[in-house]
Symmetry: D2
Subunit: 366 residues, 4 copies
């Protein structure tokens, strides 16, 4: 049991703190013979990198990944792949105040209560900087998936910022890469920009909902009962910093439906079963149906805000906390590539598991 690890056969262990010398991911279980290049992993890291536009923290981190093991002559060897990212922008500042005070909404107080010691610089291990390691590992997963399941795609985007959702009627996948919010709705992008500018100026922050879709996932992945595909996706997304809710398919809204509304009817298509709808989000009984896997998660507003909040010190004295510095007004934006990375890792893991447990078996239809 490794509590800084996830995955069954494709197993990722992340390590490192926000302001330590480096952070990274030890990736165990990548199949051999997969082309792995630092440049390809860097591509995904650059999407998560801070300081890319005015809506993300202005901390300057190149987030350059170094591959220390597990790759030989450009191919994975089946041994652990160590991905290291050096921290470079460790601004020398006085952390004395933070060290003695607990910031509301942060893990300061619980880390202290649990461990009796914490690296308070920038949140230490509880910082969202840890997610860079996940994105790097996700790059390895994507490379393996590209080889094992050609045509499989994984796409994340924002569907809600604060109280403002997207209009699904205007959904345009091409729009995702064109705006700073990874939102598939050009009109929403404009509105959100104005809304976030206002929040940022007022020193406040806001939450978000991210949706991640995997297309081309084969039917049959998932390991009931306690390694279900949706169970592992829920854990993967909930483990991301600041996430407070996870939905598969219709999610919480499924509660309001009747059985007749909710049933995804099945038809025989030219290449196998097809479905009339996807309330289930591509998973039945914990196993993939072959439809799109649809996962959503809610990210709470950044807790580091300029608005003063009441708190206490280590000594138990009342105080007021204002968090200055370089913070994301909507940390959900940078959670998009993180959600994609987690999806890639979970799908690859279940592909390997399925191959191990079932081999070429599995039932045919038609």
């Amino acid at each position: 049991m490794s509590l800084n690890s996830f995955g069954h056969l494709f197993r990722v262990t992340t390590w490192g703190e926000s302001h330590g010398p480096a952070l990274g991911a030890t990736v165990d279980g990548c199949p051999p013979g997969v082309p792995i290049e630092a440049a390809a992993i860097q591509h995904w890291l650059d999407r998560r990198k801070p300081g890319q536009n005015k809506y993300t923290t202005q901390r300057r981190e190149p987030d350059e990944v170094e591959i220390l093991s597990g790759v030989f002559e450009g191919l994975s060897t089946g041994t652990p792949i160590q991905l290291m990212i050096r921290n470079t922008d460790q601004r020398s500042k006085d952390y004395g105040e933070i060290a003695q005070t607990f910031r509301p909404g942060h893990a300061d107080i619980t880390y202290w209560q649990k461990y009796g010691i914490r690296d308070y610089r920038g949140g230490g291990r509880s910082s969202a900087r840890e997610t860079a390691a996940r994105v790097a590992a996700g790059g390895v997963a994507r490379a393996a998936l590209a080889q094992l399941v050609p045509g499989l795609t994984i796409t994340g985007y924002m569907v809600q910022m604060g109280p403002h959702g997207i209009d699904r009627a205007r959904f345009d996948a091409d729009e995702i890469e064109r705006n700073p919010f990874w939102v598939p709705d050009a009109q929403a992008a404009e509105q959100w920009a104005a809304y976030l500018d206002g929040l940022r100026k007022s020193g406040d922050s806001v939450g978000a909902v991210i949706e991640v879709v995997a297309s081309g996932v084969p039917a049959g992945l998932g390991a009931p009962i306690y390694g279900k595909l949706d169970t592992d996706l829920a854990a993967a997304m909930m483990s991301i910093n600041a996430v407070k809710g996870v939905e598969i398919g219709d999610g919480m809204a499924a509660a309001a439906l009747t059985g007749s509304q909710n049933a995804d009817e099945i038809f025989m298509g030219p290449e196998g079963p097809e479905y009339g709808s996807n309330h289930a989000g591509g998973i039945l009984g914990g196993i993939s149906t072959g439809q799109d896997l649809v996962v959503r998660f809610a990210v709470k507003p950044t807790s580091s805000i300029l608005t003063p909040r009441r708190s206490i010190t280590k000594a138990g004295q009342p105080t007021e906390v204002v968090t200055k510095g370089r913070h994301d007004p909507c940390v959900g934006i940078r959670a998009v590539p993180v959600g994609e990375a987690m999806m890639a890792c979970v799908v690859l893991d279940h592909l390997l598991l399925h191959r191990g447990q079932i081999g070429g078996a599995g039932g045919k239809i038609g």
Copy 2:
């Protein structure tokens, strides 16, 4: 890696099918010296038992638990506790049709696609009957918690049935045990009864939202980064049959809040830190704060309905499915004791983990 198991140090493996000879739970890691009685476990099983009122399936199962190991002279010995429940009401009926057809919304098709074989009687392993084993295991967890953390309580209840939510202003914990829906709002109970009667008569079903609260949980439980308390709770709840969404604290609604709204301010109370609110649901950075743990999950409507739905046969032929028989019109009702059981297992597991990794360390405040 055991894919029919959950938990780190308190580890539960469930086994058994809906219509096999028996089902049960192998409970490994219960601390020694805990009073374990079949009668106490039976108490929790009886709450989940089918056929208790007209809103749950009329299948007659006594669900009597037998303790086969791990308990000596009334006390746990620290060795695996085997809890077995014999299936008794395995009505002899013709399953031929179900065996050849895939019921929409059920795991019939995915189990077939994955395994190439399935026990089709009553859903086999994918039946919600498996949750009886969880409730039995939860009974063991509750007994251990009672010894380790006196005063800790775990309470589940419904907060939404179909489109009808409760009124939090009318919240009355005493009401929970008085109505067939475990709903803490007498007025809602009445409305829901009428609503569900109508649905049942029309042969339809409906979803629900369940909330589970644990009070008296010590601060410091949770193992960042990938064994966070909320991560494990999300996985635990998502693994329950028909669950499509999981929320901690404010859950999906956190997305709509600003940082200043969402911050749970901290004050010094007579016995330690206190909070002005609980948007976080008792968890910060994956670690318990000492506040109430608040988890919600959405259960989709029962897929077994009398309304005909289109589907296909194993041979790929179109067909129409009507599921007669003894089904819950709102399977969410019986998910309440299941959610409680999962909460009990996760909290105990993290208590043991914390004890192992941290011992008596941990920071003091004030």
Copy 3:
């Protein structure tokens, strides 16, 4: 982490005590579609069953296995297979003395020191009766192996009893099933019979060495670095009651060899690489070579003897212990089918792991 479980993808959890109502194995990860019959599993159990000849304990246990789940219409479904064996010969006797005294060489004292409670009847969980569950699980593994790797065989036998080894020059595999010691040397069988008769009459016991060989294991199984095939075999054998040493290939004797003596030279055969010798026991770098897997383990003499030994009571008072009752004078005899079962489980597990992680890849020679 389940501490009463072993295996990665083929995962066995045993449960039960010597004198409780039942014991058994929860077998998770058996591939679907494997023919599993109680009678076939019974075949293996009968070989380990007590009371078969005068050299094993006269406790009368039918050791009848009941399959409670995971098998449908004679085939495994991919879900957990629960194998239960009822204890029937729980002689009513006064355990009062044992309960207060620690028998030298037994786990009485350590279970007490660890757990503060123990089921003292017949050793409780620490009894070698637990190995019946392993043999049942091994029966499932053998069935799966028969389907996945036709021609693979697993054979265990004794090569030493007390100070008396076999003569390898007289090795005759057919002899194994003809004598009560599973020894492949008819002359040794005779000598051992006389030797053991003497020991039994004097109320003493003796140790043994068992060798288990798997033939027909494909090259490539094993997961370096910490899931090596030899690592997992060493753990599997060392976990058997009373085992004090494990060897692969030349084992401890390898220390006395020079590199030129120890090198297994490689030749190209008609169907792939062949080796001039097998000092390595079929494993290089933790991965199978395709040669015979050769494992040996030493079992210490039964600790339950009639010779008085000095010990203490729970109260710390000096006492003398004589263990009357129905005990094996050489517990190593019945360890033979147990060693075979562990070999079957480990080989199947690594076959599934290899399939999951590598798929059809792997290098060709020639």
Copy 4:
């Protein structure tokens, strides 16, 4: 499941190849508040370091450890500790021949058969260089043990080189650090030096037996049935490169004893139970007795020798292999600090496990 990891709660994942940029260990589960210094870890690494005397490989590696995470202001924080060692002496040489040929006794052929690709430079992942990472992790374990169990000591030494054992009557612990073989017998040290000089000159190599003893280990550690202390020690030692046998206490020799000889009689001492002998090696039923833990393992002779051995090429052609270069004539020498490191990791792991599962419970005697 991470196949490059070991341990339950104190979990070590090693990564890296012989001639890659770096190798290291990701150490998860170190308790917080433990003083961790690079210099202290370096102390242990220096003992394993190549090139220290004429009996070990002349490869020049400083093996300098860098702590990249998990330590703040000199103390462990409870988060993963990343220990990195850069490879520096990667001699530019032509590996073309090795790449196409399989060296007898090496993992060349099995890695190729398994993965279809391998880093052939210096053995890649299968090189004993990987054990440097274990020694670094062992340094962390020792630091934690020093805090948790003051007075606990772990000492490894050689007891046999080739056919030459030590004389236990001359056992002198102080001698261990005085000779290049870590042998507690000055006379043996002299003999072995002459013997090994001869072997080295003839281009041959030889095996060895190492014994590791842990003193001061509390009674009660070990998690039956499949996480027994001896099971985990057997796995830990067998996972070390070139190990072919593992013994606990009397080990293989226990087979030749009678029950009356083997029984470790128990007496009441001033501070608890004491034993008249230690045939059991400090473990009964998988749980520590409080006596010395005694483990031995046999290391086969180095496979890289100057004596020509027959083998085949990738193309299946016959060839002859002579391994020139800088190799240890007795790789067992440098296995001593590795065995100590594994012992430290396993004991710490079981200490944490025991604390988690049992807390302060456990039975008293007297």
